[in-house]
Amino acid sequence: MSELRRPTSSPAVETQLVYAHGLAALITLLISVGFGVLASIELLVPDLAAGHGAWQGAWLSWGRLRYDHTQGIMLGWLGNAFFAFLYHAVPLLTGRSVTSARLGQWIFGLWNFAVVAPGWVLVLAGFSQPLEWAEFPLVIDAFVVLALVLAIVQFLPPFFSRGLEDLYVSSWYVIGALVFTLLAYPMGNVVPELVPGARGAAFSGLWIHDAIGLYVTPLAVAILYFVIPAATRRPIFSHFLSMLGFWLLFFLYPLNGTHHYIFSVIPMSAQIGAITASTLLGVDVVIVVANLLLSLRGAGWFPRDVALRFVSTGAVFYLIVSIQGSVQAQMSVNQSVHFSDWVIGHSHLAMLGFASFSAAGGLIHAWQRIPWARYNPRMLNWSYWFLFAGVIIMVTDLTIAGLVEAHVWQTAQPWLESVRAARPYWLIRTLSVVPIGAGFILLLIGITTGDRGGGLGAVKASIGLEPIEEIAPVFSEPL
């Protein structure tokens, strides 16, 4: 084995870019939540968008709001939050700066002003693509791909110039996410426009899962693996389990796609393969999360450091949502809950529970370490509790709603009975925005008010401050 590589000096973190992406993340998040709330209200008051003018109300139609909601969460909120985390973490993981701050400004501009903002506007104006997690129109996809290429140029060279020996597991996840997202994105967004019907659906199924499995999950897990040792200042429980989890994840995740189309005309052997992979994936996530939670020992069940608390809760949500995923991919479960609100509950547990908690934790962790950024620990603490309550309410509610709908569908009752039965649950779902919205607003307040440099003080108060360069060795231990 080669000798440990410890960075000798503290590498430059582009704090301006962390800050810019962090703010953009929260602003796009609040807008995306707004789209989601409007869409959920329209299920209760469907005539909300009933304008009678030439186009009046068309932009408010349910479909468009939902398209903007999911794309905004995936690209606006999580995309920006991941970028903020990468600007903080890549220099610490590699001991080298990212390629260029100027390039960073370009990526920031592209991502927010050539992808998210125009994407939203085009969808509202009626230009979209009816493919899940790929709703922005094709012209936007070109800019996404460009931005992803630039992100690779920005973040991967530090890893390669450092050398790939003894890379900490977060680095692997980052490399994997950036490379595979670039590969998977065009497959989900462009191929179904060229390959019709059932054959195209096979590609769509892959992308629906790859969007989560190769973009959101690896970056969120990279955050978990980064923040937990950095905030507790203990190395990860087992580097072997880290790597086992990583390789299993990248082997199994892409093979899950077809589980979105069980009992379809897609060949049964492909469906069964995907179901098997989904089952094994649950096992893999048990390994990953066990490793993460075991690394938390000593930090307490409810760590005082709010970033660490967000992250460890995210890890628990990851475990729950993955086991749920394995269960609902089984034919006996899938045949009744598929198409119902159960799945919407599942996706919110994944995106709002696992991914958003991890991203928020990563963002706060990076924020604490920007010496000039404002930081308001009380607000962030409240943010955590509101979000936690909101997720629990919403996911429980939608899961029950899904079971109720599935039950009605099994009977001979008219279709509309399932809609009537779901109504009260939809009301609760809409109300769950109160804690969720409050939580996210408090998160924004938490990082824009308070003392400048207050984050460092808060860290000191909770576990004692580590100088930034001292974190790096935690990531540099051999396998």
Partner: protein
Amino acid sequence: MKRLLRMSYLVAGVAGLGFFAMSVLLLAVWPGRVLEQQIRGTSPDHPLRLTASEERGRTVYGRAIHAYCHTQQIRYLPNDVARFGAATLAWETIFDYPQLWGTRRIGPDLSREGAVRSADWQLSHLYAPRALVADSVMPPFPWLFDGAPDRPRQEGQDLLAYLETLGRNRALAGPEGETRARATCNCSDEEKQFAFGPVLNASPAMARRQGDYSKLSESGDLNRGRELYSHNCAGCHGTRGEGDGPGAAGLRPRPENLSDHDYTLDRLSFSLWNGSAGTAMPAWRDLPVQDLSALAQVVRGFHAAQPEPTLPQDVLDLGSRVYAAHCAQCHGENGAGDGSAAGQFPIAPTNFRMQRPSLAASLRAVRNGVEGTPMAPWTSQLSEAELSAAAYYVRGFFQGGNQ
């Protein structure tokens, strides 16, 4: 040693890319080839492509509106097949760029929506869904219209045209197509059972010209009936059954004025089970018989019985002559709606033995015709005396009570 390590990471990187490539090969490319083969074997020789208008309608459907509330994929499952019809075959989607399978069903699956509802119903429903379907959560799409459900703009017409293509190719393939697909489809017996079930389109709302109906009972839970009526019927037929519900405006023919007619139970049962082909009246055969009986109670309650005038014999004779000369071809010699020409019309002629219009309604029909049906006005061909006599006469066919 260091070189070797470096190599091992290169190998790992290649392996990683290999995982991704493998997933695409196993779950997309290979299934694609299997599907392609299946499509070649099972597809009819010349499936209809979408016209320019239908294609535009598909864009409207996908971009703004339906894609996340409705699926277009009937799964190989008993419940799906029972509710929506034969499971979707691969070739049915070959013109879908991109696919619209969907992963959420807030509303029902639309794979075979084409033949289910009448065009006027579809337009009225798009214009103001809750006018027709109380408690629906579908958003309205008034911007597809010029201020009224019967005045769709181009986009509205396109969307309607597209909706009418859903399931069309499979229906056009006919029994020959089904037989051929069944023989060549490389699928298990279980899959065949779902893909080639006895009913291609199982939508319970689909109107049938002829069909079974069950005997309803004279008594029914009136409260349950009122609830069902207000949920399912009042939108078109109005709260008092006068055919003036909020959904009525865009429908041709207009919803029937239930308070204007005496019905036998069998007549109501027939309509509830089969809908009225050629009109917006859907079938309700998925409701249990007790519910249908309860509904029938409510519907019959709308009509206030009035003392029947006794007519002089010469009026009856005149009526009988006029009827035989002008009405019997469609309505049948005995008023059973089974005249020699009846089968040629999309909408069945009224069966007077099972349904008796009030005198006013009867006179209105012979004088003005019934808009949206083959019933024409007769004022240019018959004198006022003849019109009245015929209007009186048809009321005599009624076989009140349950037959």
